[in-house]
Symmetry: C2
Subunit: 365 residues, 2 copies
């Protein structure tokens, strides 16, 4: 086994999830993530944690959902109760075919998701972390050979997370103090409120309210978007390719949408529930260890010189205690390249132009 | 996919587990059983059941157990509570290396098992069924090519279970009416009490208190064994090869044991707990669709012309309501070939000689 698989498991268990002896840890194993599951099991054993592995293969889920009549039972309690008692949930992604979920009709997939909102909520009440094992399917999606792709993944994952967290703190401070964000770039002029929100310094650890490995973004939960936005970074959602999405917001909701490719996948997303048309997240990528787009949201949204928005569910860590934030069965991230002809303003002041932050060399105010 | 995988899934879900709409079904997926898991998921979707797949890869479990200090938490509640609520548990075996578990020190493996007795009990309170997907590792263990092995497995699984159940009822009736069983063959002369026991007509369905697919045996829960027994059918237990086991029983317990190969694996079994030295099962194989030994207990113990005994846990379905029966963290089956020089007596009357039952042609009383 590539020794970096063990390093990956160690960062995941110790830095990201902060697993301690006696923790009940659910490990969600994707069908291509077997090797990482073995390495994670070893670390959990060393730490004296308890482990329960679940199998989250897309082929299995798709077969189930496709064959079902669509009237899914709401949040079956055997799964809710298991997650209710879990201290930590580790999702080890690693697909063998990233297009698999696309074989399920969108309305049925959406119904299945809606039937699992409490399950998802319990999962996110735990110290959860999502990461990805470098499989051939993901390498193919990225347009890379497997050896090159492994280097890409481990360069993004095996970082000095503490230093990056220090760097990201500057942006978090600006967002926490601000009230309004405006993003302007080609095909985009969008204004959002961030009043009263707390930004997350997403340093790939639950200790920072950060739940992805790799991470390296600062995100918050905006409201009341007005204007338009274009997402020019290629993406695959639930097995469907989506390209060049354009959204228009009116009265805080998506009023109009289009895509060059995959518009019907957007239709399905926005038909899921009411919250799917509202914003759940504004994120600013700051991980310069991710040096190219690979059509995988876990990596793409963390890349430096990018900004992303998600429609759907907001993360509670960004919200005031008395506010529930946007609720939805979906949380779909979409990314804009801001390396050229762009600016990000907080309360009218430019904090990033053409990908450079105001505290960086080369910033033009 | 081989169309017989779908047939296998259908027999499992409908005949064996009797899954109904709304049932909470835990599907335990071994690392080589992916294809069967997909086919089972499809059937569960069709039936309107709820599904939660767990991943029971030996490599994952072995890595965890090996790395742990051995002081395992007793029955972590996230797993107990999940199984407590499950209506059905389907175990889809399908190893990629049958020797994997042998890499874990026996005392640690036994400690891990002991820490999971309530988990095992909850699993067996549900309508549980174990079956096996034909992997290359199992074919290799059987000394067969994969195509030939698939034929072997599906011939054993895809049977007319109702007819076999009728045939097996004759033996069940004799055992239910009897008080004492004596088994005599080369190296074996063992007497056991079956007073007050109910034999199970194991027709591969929970409707018959039968939990294996394939099945085709009649079994009960004997007590007070006296004498000696030799198990000449090759077996692999937790990754260790065991050959030609000889046990001597005194005062109802294993007093002495030896094996030509794998004696230390026996040492580990008998050191697990007190119940491991008492009998849990007497089973008589009646599935003539299983036509050879393949070093897999699921198939071997069902073969016609064989008798097996298990040390360890007794199945509650064989016991009077007010009796708990033998308790243990293990249940280890061992098999004797009775096709030659053998006889099985119930209360002094020969019911099987040299593999032929008294109601069959060729029986010599």
């Amino acid at each position: 086994m590539d020794p970096r698989v063990h390093d990956h498991a160690e960062v995941l268990v110790d830095w990201s999830a902060r697993v301690e002896a006696g923790d009940d840890v659910v490990v969600r194993v994707d069908e291509g993530a077997h090797d990482l599951a073995v390495a994670v099991a070893e670390k959990l054993g060393e730490r004296g944690a308890n482990m329960l592995a679940t199998y989250v293969a897309d082929e299995v889920e798709s077969a189930f959902v496709r064959a079902h009549d669509g009237d899914f039972e709401q949040d079956p309690d055997f799964e809710v109760e298991m997650l209710e008692r879990a201290d930590v949930v580790l999702s080890l992604r690693g697909k063998r075919n990233v297009a698999e979920k696309g074989a399920v009709p969108g309305d049925k997939r959406a119904a299945y998701k809606r039937s699992r909102t409490a399950i998802k909520a319990r999962r996110m009440d735990a110290d959860w972390v999502s990461t990805q094992h470098p499989t051939r399917a993901h390498a193919q999606q990225a347009g890379m050979g497997i050896a090159e792709y492994r280097d890409f993944v481990y360069d993004a994952v095996l970082r000095d997370w503490e230093s990056l967290a220090d760097e990201m703190a500057s942006l978090k401070d600006l967002l926490d103090a601000g009230s309004e964000v405006r993003l302007v770039t080609d095909g985009t002029d969008l204004t959002m409120s961030i009043e009263g929100r707390t930004a997350v310094n997403s340093a790939a650890s639950v200790a920072y309210d950060s739940h992805n490995l790799p991470s390296g973004e600062v995100f918050t939960a905006p409201t009341d978007p007005e204007g338009e936005v274009t997402f020019d970074v290629p993406m695959t959602h639930d097995g469907s390719r989506i390209r060049d999405v354009h959204l228009t917001f009116e009265d805080g909701e998506v009023a109009d949408w289009s895509a060059e490719v995959g518009e019907s996948a957007l239709d399905d997303i926005f038909a899921t529930d009411e919250g799917a048309r509202r914003l759940g997240e504004l994120g600013i990528g700051m991980n310069r260890g991710v040096d190219r787009f690979t059509d995988s949201i876990l990596f793409d949204e963390k890349m430096g010189d990018t900004v992303h928005l998600a429609v759907g569910r907001a993360y509670s860590s960004c919200l005031p205690e008395d506010e529930q934030g946007n609720q939805s069965a979906v949380h779909v991230d979409m990314i804009t390249d801001v390396s050229e002809d762009s600016r990000l303003e907080i309360d009218g002041e430019v904090v990033q132009r053409n990908g450079r932050f105001r505290w960086e060399d080369g910033f033009e105010g």
